[in-house]
Amino acid sequence: MSARPFFSRVSSGRVSSRRVSSRRVRRLAGRTLLYLVLAVCAVVYIYPFLLSIGTAFKTDPDAIAHPLNPIPSHWVLTAFTELEQQDFLLWLGNSVIVAVSVTAGRLLFDSMAGYALARLRFRGRGAVFSAIIAVMAVPSVVLLIPKFLVLKQLGIYNSYPGLIVPLMTDAAGVFIMRQFFLSVHPSIEEAAKIDGAGIFRTYWSVVLPMARPALITLTILAFQGSWNDFSDLLIAHQSPSLDTLTTGVGRLVSGQLGEATQYPLELAAAMAMTIPVAIVFFVFQRFIMRGPEGGVKE
């Protein structure tokens, strides 16, 4: 496509070469501007995290006096020692229990349902699939009060099952798994079937290992979703011993209103609870941020 400018550069002497160079200057200016804008945006998105990490190691007065400087004037660990006294380790344990159980549940249930909806021919399949799609459209915040009512009625309010079981499946996960199985050719499973493997055996030892990419996507979504979840966990329990990181730290923040705010303590909590999702994110980044090479199938 560069044929035209090249040709004109050769054919018509100085005038157009000046035009070309002015165009080059304009392009250079454009690129510089683009990088400048992107860099400013990157600062806006990243600097708050750097500030938060730095402030976590500050003293309270230092945090208030120098809000723009991420480097503490004295490095102190008061925020972290205080966090430990605030049941932080208990919250961490509860968050791990919830996130791991929810992720395991979703991997199993969503992949089973997704496989059945993609491959098995059974009466009512279409109805089940449409119902699951319809469910995806229900706004989750609207369900807070109703979910609390059901948890109470079932007698699992304020217990680990109450925190975990309602999150153990999600319609979006079923949808993702179904789409994945539809995109895979069924020849391998058919071979297994001819060899005499039953449906469950085929699913467990042939289909699941094949579905690794989709299962990884699902793992990321489920882990991140349950680790970061606040409102569903908030309405499912009352006793502080069941607090996860989100609800525990949330109580810490919203309960402190009116008192002098201890920014280092709060920011230390915020950054510490972000570490696990950040690790998952950086390990599996290539699955989340698919470039042009492995574009998401729509």
């Binding site: 496509m1 990088y35 992107l38 998105y45 990243i46 995290f49 500030l51 938060s52 208030i64 809000p67 199993l108 249930f109 089973m112 349902a113 059945a116 098995l120 021919r121 059974f122 009512g124 399949r125 089940v128 699951i132 469910v135 459209a137 229900v138 706004p139 989750s140 609207v142 369900l143 807070l144 009060i145 609390f148 009512l149 109470k152 009625q153 309602p166 153990m168 499946t169 449906i199 680790w227 606040f230 409102s231 908030l234 309405i235 989100t246 920014y263 709060e266 909590a269 915020a270 609870m273 999702v277 950040a278 994110f281 989340i288 941020m289 698919r290 042009p292 574009g295 998401v296 729509e298």
Partner: protein, 349 residues
Amino acid sequence: MKLLSRRGSLRRRETAAGWLMTAPVIVLLLVFLVVPIAMAAWVSLSNWTGIGSPFSSDVSSVGLRNYQALLTQPGLPQQQLGESLRNNLYYVLFVVPVQTALALGLALAVSRKRLAGRGFFRTAYYFPSITSSVAVSIIFLYIFGSTGVVNALVGYLGAHGPNWFNDPSGVLQLAYSGLGVTQAPAALANHGFLGLPWWQWLAGPSVAMVAIIVLAVWTTSGTFMLIFLPAIYAIPSELEEAAIMDGANAWQRFWRVTFPMLKPALFLVLTLGLIATWQVFDQIYLMSQGNPAGTTLTPAYLAYVASFSDQQWGQGAAIAFILFAIIVALTVLQRLVLRDRGTVAGDRA
């Protein structure tokens, strides 16, 4: 004959397996989605106060009284609902267009083929999206605190920053007074809707709400950038090249080639944005609890407080259903509006 019966039993086996494998999902969704909605519907028509079971004989139906108290009877519930709807409406009006435009802009920029540091930029913009609402709320309480980063920057410019989370003044009202309108015109002060005078409806988001709006845009623009990216990559490069050959400049190429191809992604982003912004809850609970002066109250938070704090479960459930109705109505409306435009463009093409 034998073959036929074998096929029949295979069919039956598939049916059994199909239902068995979908059963956990069906049961969970039934128990935690369909049943709760039915229960909440009953509670919204009852006078249950949170004690005992809502199905016990002490609880009786009050008909539509909870809805009437919210929608037609002048009083505190109606006024609070009106306030929360106003606040959330401005939140939606500011967040959705800004986050969509920003996400599209970022996606277009980082999808360029010859961009050094493409991966870095993408990660930077996406990172806030993986952070929990609790952590982000804490960061923004710090940044927008009276001695925080934003006010320090404002101070460098020689101005005096507001006390963000304690400032209930509406930004549009501040603009009106800048134009010399400091008093509400009588027509707007004495008439209103849902217990709120029109002058209050026109106040705009409060300064406190603006901080939460910025938070929402900052957190979600990366998520939506990721929805735009594959759509941008899916545009065949021949189209762009053909447009260049035809002498279209960058502006024309964007509006005539790129933009029309991105319409499905845009539609998705707008729908998801609209649904999510009407449900803002976590940030309100964590950062402002509806303060100052009720200017960050939202329907989702109001429903929570009415039920869990004030024990007005019927009213809380009724607010949740009103919110549900608003979200459904707006989604349908948006679909109609955008689809109409889509077909007109399609006819022209």
